[in-house]
Amino acid sequence: MARAVSTRRMLVLTAIGWTIGLVLFFPIVWTILTSFKTEGEAIASPPSFLFFNWTLENYAEVQSRSNYLKHVMNSVVISLGSTALALAIAIPAAWAMAFSPTRHTKDVLMWMLSTKMLPPVGVLIPIYLMFRDTGLLDTRLGLVIVMTLINLPIVVWMLYTYFKEIPADILEAARMDGASLRNEILFVLAPMAVPGIASTVLLNIILAWNEAFWTLNLTAANAAPLTAFIASYSSPEGLFWAKLSAASTLAIAPILIMGWFSQKQLVRGLTFGAVK
């Protein structure tokens, strides 16, 4: 009897899980389907789900109008570069705050987070002028720096939370065995925090990949990533849904595939330390 109830409960929970999953995934499915419709079918009311004239013309149009690979390369360089730079700064910072806290550590953490509360447009002109004067406008390096700075508070916070879960005694034992600070971080702390670091890396890549305010405003023709590529397919006058959907599908494909393959690490990292 107990087993029957348990099986029924499992079935209900599975059904709920699938329903929520499908609802969350539906906008992406709809975008992909729309990318295979004509512009007329994309705005048709009532919309057709599967029974329409499937076409690849939107992808052909996107390929002929834009240099997709150039935008992909820019997105890859900007998101990976900013993640590497952010980690290089955030790991020592989070280590210091987790294992050698002072009475100001909490305040410093809160201050870091508070920088995320300022609307980005508030500092657009000063940053634009600094970039203009340093020749960083429309360069990948400029965007790597900006992406690092805007995501750094989140990276530090995440790593700090993960590091806090690691017993300080283990690090102390390593120190007693004569490990240097570098070896302590590289060979003791880092391997134990791999799930946390991996999920931080993935989240930071996704955040940098999707960031649209700075990437749109600080780039023109050379360093424009996939966000600028998508933005070029929207229009207030004229039909554009199908072409925009094709551009969006192409833009999210790399990050979706990466997320698919690394979901195990991501989930493990995000739930790391959740249950003691």
Partner: protein, 439 residues
């Protein structure tokens, strides 16, 4: 000796190629994402083959994103762009700030006098042209000939608002999802306020009097807004306060609207059988009036300008002369047909029988553009330039805030009186903060 010659030859070849590379200049061109601009991008090989020392980099954006980017760049002298696509709203403001290069060096065969006078006026300051029109548009009435015939009504070429309202109410059959009229309702200075400012002109309304005092407390605005809200309640589609150009285009193309008053550029979409279910049933008329001497049509042009921050002015001028010259129109016609040439910029286009035959809306577009006067947009005198906007930097903010009030009135969230009262307060407050009236 032979060896020497070889070395010399190789050196010359390297020097020549280096000289060529050093001479090559890349123009960065910022454009909006619309059909005519995309076509220009595709045909740009014609320009680069004639000018092998110039290469082109394109930055294509949705117009609001583009406006934000190019405004930031030009205001800070960022110098990221060599050619910018801007509209009739920006030109007078930017030219007065000395942000744009006057276009008085476009070549002897450019035929600047061929540009339609209304468009040229909208892109000039103190008689100097600061942006060359790529295409121009006004607004007009598009209607369903079959539905009008069925209802026994004949659309005149120059209808009045009372005629349009009566016809819309008569044709409306909400049970069949058929609506007499579709008009913009989505809030925004370039959305509902473009339409309502132009409509207000035909009712004698104006944004400001000669001393820059806001005029929303005057009877002309009350007449305009009441007429619009009542008409849309009786004969408009549900949820009209969310409808902009694209939403109304979709409604009209799917056969749900009997009339749509909007940009003349829509004519090519609604008559395209690939996209429109009613392509062969569309008729065109001028935008309506109320007998006061002004029609409710606007005037807009997307134009190419050179920012003062560029150091590639000569190449930029060459490109603009190519893209907005008469030869470009012939190039598009030869490659893509006369129906696809950019409309609304040159008188000679409307004198060309091939174009008039290919574009059934050509005559109505020309008449609509001719009737718009950016310096005298409404019945009473105004201190500003612009038909459906006020060419001052504050307008984007005020226009959108007032548009939100009017959209609320359309959605039934506020009365017409309340919306006008709020609009008056918002406008007065912003203008006072900005130091108007300017001394």
């Amino acid at each position: 000796m032979k060896m020497e010659r070889l070395v010399l030859g190789a050196c010359s070849a390297i020097a020549l190629s280096l000289a060529g590379a050093a001479g090559a200049e890349t123009l960065t061109i910022a454009t909006v994402n619309n059909g005519d601009m995309i076509r220009m991008q595709k045909l740009a090989d014609d320009f680069t083959s004639k000018n092998p020392d110039i290469t082109l980099d394109w930055v294509v954006m949705e117009e609001n994103v583009l406006r934000q980017k190019v405004t930031t760049d030009i205001a800070t002298k960022g110098g990221q762009y060599d050619v910018m696509t801007i509209g009739t709203y920006e030109v007078p403001i930017w030219a007065k700030q000395n942000w744009l290069v006057p276009l008085d060096n476009l070549g002897t065969d450019y035929a600047v006098n061929d540009i339609l006078p209304a468009i040229r006026k909208g892109l000039s300051v103190d008689g100097k042209l600061y942006a060359a029109p790529f295409y121009g548009e006004s607004s007009m009435t598009m209607y369903r000939k079959d539905l009008f015939q069925k209802a026994g009504i004949t659309m005149p070429d120059a209808p009045s608002w009372s005629f349009v309202a009566d016809a819309a109410r008569k044709i409306t059959d909400k049970s069949k999802e058929l609506y007499g009229i579709c008009l913009r309702g989505k809030a925004g200075w370039g959305e509902n306020m473009a339409f309502l400012t132009a409509m207000g002109n035909s009712f004698g309304a104006r944004w400001f009097d000669e001393s820059w005092k806001a005029q929303f407390d005057q009877p002309e605005w009350k007449k305009t807004l009441s007429f619009y809200v009542d008409l849309m309640k009786d004969a408009g589609p549900p949820g009209a306060s969310s409808n902009g150009f694209n939403e109304n285009l979709a409604l009209f193309q799917s056969g749900k609207c009997a009339m749509w008053i909007d940009a003349t550029v829509a004519a090519s979409f609604v008559t395209d059988p690939k996209e429109s279910k009613v392509a062969d049933q569309v008729g065109f008329a001028l935008a309506p009036d109320t007998g006061l001497g002004k029609r409710s049509n606007w005037l807009w042009s997307w134009a190419l300008a050179i920012p003062a921050s560029t150091n590639k002015q000569a190449s930029a001028e060459k490109f603009i002369a190519w893209a907005t010259g008469k030869n470009y129109i012939d190039l598009v016609a030869s490659k893509e047909g006369w129906a696809n040439v950019p409309p609304g910029t040159r008188t000679s286009l409307y004198e060309n029988p091939k174009y008039v035959e290919a574009a059934p809306f050509a005559n109505m577009t020309l008449q609509s553009i001719r009737q718009a006067d950016p310096e005298n947009p409404t019945v009473k005198p105004v201190p500003y330039v612009g038909v459906q906007f006020v060419a001052i930097p504050e307008f984007q903010g005020i226009g959108t805030a007032v548009g939100q009030q009017f959209a609320a009135a359309l959605a039934g969230q506020a009365s017409v009186d309340q919306a006008l009262k709020n609009a008056q307060q918002i406008t007065e407050r912003t203008m006072a903060k900005s130091g108007y009236p300017k001394k």
